[in-house]
Amino acid sequence: MAYTAKIKVTLRQSILDVQGKAVEHALKNLGYQTVESARIGKYIEVIINEEEMALAERIGNEICQKLLSNPVMENYSLELEKIN
């Protein structure tokens, strides 16, 4: 059994997202006046070979906290999908 951990890492709201700001300005320059803001994050897929979903989830959270995100300036979300 294996699971795909779909992980999104985003900058905390209090952190200035300069990439997002640049994209936001570009969209506004393209004429999309209703675009209010853009923020850029990372999407990471990790395949975890585990039988039990609970264990895969524990590992998913652990790797997010240890390496994939920096809790000082980022948040993460984790979604698990069973691979058939």
Partner: protein, 234 residues
């Protein structure tokens, strides 16, 4: 007295390792030794320097992967025992990622990679790395980074201020610390901080690039000499 060995860690992607080695070799009484990231042996070094560059291509986050390099286990133990560790630029990022220092560095607020001369004010000369500077002395030391925007939650900033752990702040040539003298958006104009025990210093400016007159400034030199004074007196 035999020369004191100072280790310079080489990560894949380090690019200031040889400049740092040169600055160490140029410091009277010091002998550099290069430490490959994949090793576990500090080779008798009495201080460890983490150099600038782009360890692991800055993948994921600057310093995030280097922090788990094999040799970092020994470096963290070494630091926790109270021995001196100095992180410069990417080395500072590695120290923050490893938890030896608090806070984080995000993208410069003006989106640009900055490579220029800066002035920093020595706001704490009581560390083992700054004892040869005068209190509030302004140093001309260059920066070269895209992610040097220091951030920390309010409680960490309070602790840094309360325990006099901010060592360098971006200033003008007269030592004025203002928003105009802040190149990257760092909170409180922070350019360098020290840990509570006082043995781990991280800074974004490059003292090794300001270690002799031909480089345009030799203000960085006394950082290495301060460290020597400390180690020689042990």
């Amino acid at each position: 007295m035999a020369d004191i060995t100072v280790g310079v860690v080489v990560f894949p992607g380090s690019n200031c390792d040889h400049d740092t080695e040169y600055a160490v070799a140029n410091t009277k009484g010091f002998k550099p030794v290069m430490l490959w990231h994949n090793d576990h042996d500090l080779q008798g070094a009495k201080a460890i320097l983490l150099p600038g560059g782009f360890s692991y291509g800055d993948y994921l986050r600057a310093g995030a992967i280097a922090r788990f390099s094999p040799i970092m286990k020994e470096v963290i133990e070494f630091a926790n025992k109270g021995f001196p560790v100095l992180g410069i630029c990417n080395g500072f990022q590695v120290l923050l990622e490893s938890g030896l220092l608090e806070g984080a560095l995000s993208r410069n607020r003006d989106k640009k990679f900055l490579c220029c001369q800066t002035c920093i004010r020595t706001v704490n000369r009581s560390t083992i790395f700054t004892s040869l500077y005068k209190q509030d002395e302004v140093l001309r030391i260059p920066i070269a980074h895209g992610e040097g925007n220091y951030f920390a939650p309010p409680e960490v900033l309070e602790s840094l201020e309360e325990h006099n752990r901010i060592v360098f702040r971006y200033s003008d040539a007269e030592g004025r610390v203002t928003d105009e003298t802040n190149p990257n958006g760092s909170l409180l104009n922070i350019a360098g901080i020290v840990n509570r025990q006082g043995n781990v210093l991280g800074l974004m400016p490059h003292p090794e690039r300001a270690s002799e007159k031909s480089l345009g400034s030799e203000d960085g030199r006394r950082m290495f000499e301060s460290l020597y004074m400390y180690l020689a007196a042990l």
